[in-house]
């Protein structure tokens, strides 16, 4: 099989890491029979050319086989398929299994790291992990305790490992890594512990550090050129990572990097977003808090920033900017553009020129969003690119110890990390969303290294005056900035979507359903209830010429916090308390992969 050949070729190359290793990886990404990195490809489109399963026959889908991971916490990310081997990861303790697809999923090897359990409670929001990545004959795992480990894809043997952060000060990891060229790009979590976010590139060959770029701090730390690095077309100037902070607050400034990474090989640029500034109490950090909440474009070889765009200056709501950047080539007004589309936690869908960082579209992708009236799109305006904040929903303007009510979206965002998909056929983005609002009361907190550094009380509840559910699955036009169709869901959609050439879009739900909908209309074509709620991402591959679709089940993560007990709207009065559905009425803990196929 040609998949095996790819693997063999990649293994051969493992001692001579070079641009050709990356060419190999890119040709594997282009092969729809495999799924070699979490996002499917560098563009983060989560689109597959496979079309055996299509909108006419998807209703016949059946469970082909299953696999229990042995771990009962939130399962994010997805399995990979390299050649005839499937790689399945788990939440803490971050086990990796290699399964032989030619032998009914028999376990070829299992890797289980020993990690200090003290890292568990330092992880905000469950012990999730968004999966492994493949490059150059190695499986890369970024563990909860921030150990980055390269495993031999054939044997599971550790080829090298390196510690990226320090869990004792709240530095942890939940994200996958992105192999690019001869490097692997990794992020860090801990925005709720006052961690200063950074992105680090390690050399694939031996794990040595190539570069590290912090989200805030001196120019030498954040890897900018004050003259040539731009923000909305203007040079960022000297000390841009310090001069919008008061005192030394930037040293515990957040801006962590726990989301997804994409890459444009032609521009050699890596794209990602930074998280919330610490603390959640905006009064304790006056200024724009650059470069938290920022889309970043960096040179893959040096880390030097080409452009930034700060979406939410001086965050007041915990709208982390870490969601995926989806790269597409589309025509706008008759001109072929290289675009970047991003669905932010703040509820705005952004379309930018990914070469220059020019802002093209910024529109609400959930009509409930109310904290802003919109983004100033006039390049000649003093407030160009800034969202206009509605005073009623400004936790900064309302002040410390004041409860601001009815803010939409809630802190978990109109969309969190659960990645959207894009179909080049329909030119639509398929976006899993949260339809949840909140009350937010900030107050003063003190910083202790390694302890939570939050500083706000939150109450979250379904968006009022809507369908009563807490989620929608939508199709989005990134050029017009418009919702094309929207499927209401009882719970937030916390699963990564998959679009295919079969005109089908797949996603999972918190109740545990794997759903397939018509890419053009959103009409439901198939659903199957897996053993536990789904916060993982759907992927597809072929084995023996037959197409399969795989999904991890295992309720948890952010979604497992609030929804397990059900959410209440404190403003509705006693009558409505408990009136909203609790997820615990629908599903329980689990850890399982379910693989689907059409009947023979």
């Amino acid at each position: 099989m040609r998949k095996t050949k790819y693997l063999a070729a990649a293994l051969l190359l493992s001692s001579t890491v070079s641009a050709s290793a990356n060419d190999e990886l890119m040709s594997m990404m282009d092969d729809p029979n495999q799924w070699v990195i979490q996002t499917g490809d560098y563009a983060n489109q989560r689109y597959s050319e496979l079309d055996q399963i299509n909108k006419d026959n998807v209703s016949d889908l059946q469970v082909a086989w299953t696999f229990s991971t042995g771990v009962l916490r939130g399962h994010e990310g997805s399995p990979l398929v390299i050649g005839d081997v499937m790689y399945v990861h788990t939440p803490f303790p971050n086990i990796v299994y290699a399964l032989d697809l030619t032998d009914e999923g028999k376990i070829i090897w299992k890797y289980e790291p020993k990690q200090d359990p003290d890292v568990i409670p330092v992880m905000c929001c469950d012990t999730v992990n968004r999966g492994v990545a493949y490059a150059d004959g190695k499986i890369f795992l970024h563990q909860a305790d921030t150990t980055v480990v390269a495993l031999n894809a054939d044997t599971g043997a550790v080829e090298w490992s390196v510690m990226n952060g320090d869990a004792a000060v709240g530095e942890t990891n939940t994200a996958t890594v992105l192999p690019v060229g001869d490097k692997v790009i990794v992020g860090i979590s801990g925005g709720e512990f006052g961690v200063r976010g950074s992105v680090t590139a390690y050399n694939i060959a031996d794990g040595t550090q190539a570069w590290r770029a912090y989200s805030m701090g001196p120019d030498s730390d954040i890897l900018v050129d004050p003259e040539t690095t731009t923000h909305l077309g203007e040079p960022v100037g000297v000390d841009s990572g310090i001069n919008t902070w008061e005192g030394d607050q930037w040293k515990i400034g957040g801006g962590t990097t726990w989301g997804w990474y994409s890459y444009d090989p032609d521009e050699n640029l890596v794209y990602y977003g930074t998280g919330n500034p610490s603390t959640w109490n905006p009064a304790q950090r006056p200024g724009d808090n650059r470069w938290s909440m920022t889309i970043m474009a960096r040179d893959a070889d040096t880390g030097m920033a080409k452009w930034f765009y700060q979406m939410t200056p001086h965050d007041e709501w915990d709208y982390d900017g870490i969601n995926e950047m989806i790269l597409t080539d589309q025509e706008i007004d008759g001109v072929e553009r290289k675009l970047l589309t991003h669905f932010d936690r703040n509820g705005l869908g952004y379309t930018l020129d990914r070469i220059t960082g020019e802002l093209l579209v910024a529109e609400k992708f959930d009509p409930a969003v109310n904290w802003t009236t919109g983004v100033d799109m006039d390049p000649n305006s003093d407030t160009y690119g800034r969202p206009a904040v509605v005073a009623e929903y400004s936790t900064e303007q309302n002040g410390e110890d004041v409860n601001s009510t009815g803010i939409c979206p809630a802190a978990l965002g109109s969309k969190d990390q659960q990645p959207a998909a894009y179909s080049p056929e329909t030119e639509l983005f398929y976006v899993p969303t949260n339809h949840v609002c909140m009350d937010y009361e900030p107050f003063r907190v003190s910083y202790t290294a390694g302890q939570p550094y939050v500083g706000a009380t939150l109450a979250m509840y379904p968006a009022p005056d809507s369908h009563g559910g807490m989620g929608n699955f939508i199709a989005w036009d990134n050029k017009a900035g418009e919702i094309v169709w929207s499927v209401p869901e009882q719970f937030s959609v916390w699963s990564g979507a998959l679009a295919t050439a079969g005109d089908v879009v797949f996603y999972g739900t918190l109740e545990g359903y794997l759903k397939a909908v018509d890419a053009a209309t959103g009409e439901e074509l198939y659903k199957f209830k897996t053993p536990s709620g789904i916060i993982g991402n759907v992927m597809t591959y072929t084995q023996g010429g037959k197409q399969y679709v795989a999904i991890l089940s295992g309720i948890g993560g952010w979604a497992g916090i609030g929804l397990a007990a059900g959410l209440t709207n404190p403003n509705d009065g006693l009558g409505a308390v408990g009136g909203y559905a609790a997820l615990s009425d629908y599903t329980a803990l689990g850890g399982q992969m379910t693989v689907f196929a059409l009947p023979d």
């Binding site: 469950d126 709720e192 107050f443 907190v445 059900g566």
Partner: protein
Amino acid sequence: MRNFALTLGTAALMSVGQATFAQDDMTNIDAAYSEDGRYYTEEDIPTFNIAEDGTIDWLTYSGFRRYHSECHVCHGPEGEGSSYAPALKNSAIEMDYYDFVDVVVNGRQRINAAENSVMPAFGDNPNVMCYLDDIYVYLKARGVEAVPRGRPGAKEAKSDVIREDENACLG
């Protein structure tokens, strides 16, 4: 962090040999007396108080805020529990006060084949330790459903002593 050192020492001492017990009667719940805006049971254990008109004591209100800052990202809203951490509204009733304090201060681990459950030690976190009684009485009030889910309504004013103690504790 200086102020609660004394409390901690006492708690650690007293927790030795104390068994967790279910609360059959209301002696661990009902307020017997108050001191500077704080309420205590007959056995001098902190507890909540709800006046006839529904006004709740300051500590219970404060506990609502602090709980949702420090605890709820694992233990869920209003002490209801999450997919991976227990419902503390029950723990506050089922556990002895000193055991409760001991777990918050020193943490606890349940690591085995089925569980990867770790409660961190909050002993050196002033955002928790300076409000430990607040959080405890709020959860107790939740445990017996004396306070419903959601944001509490009318509350007593913060007493001068509580304010002074808070400032001294936070340093």
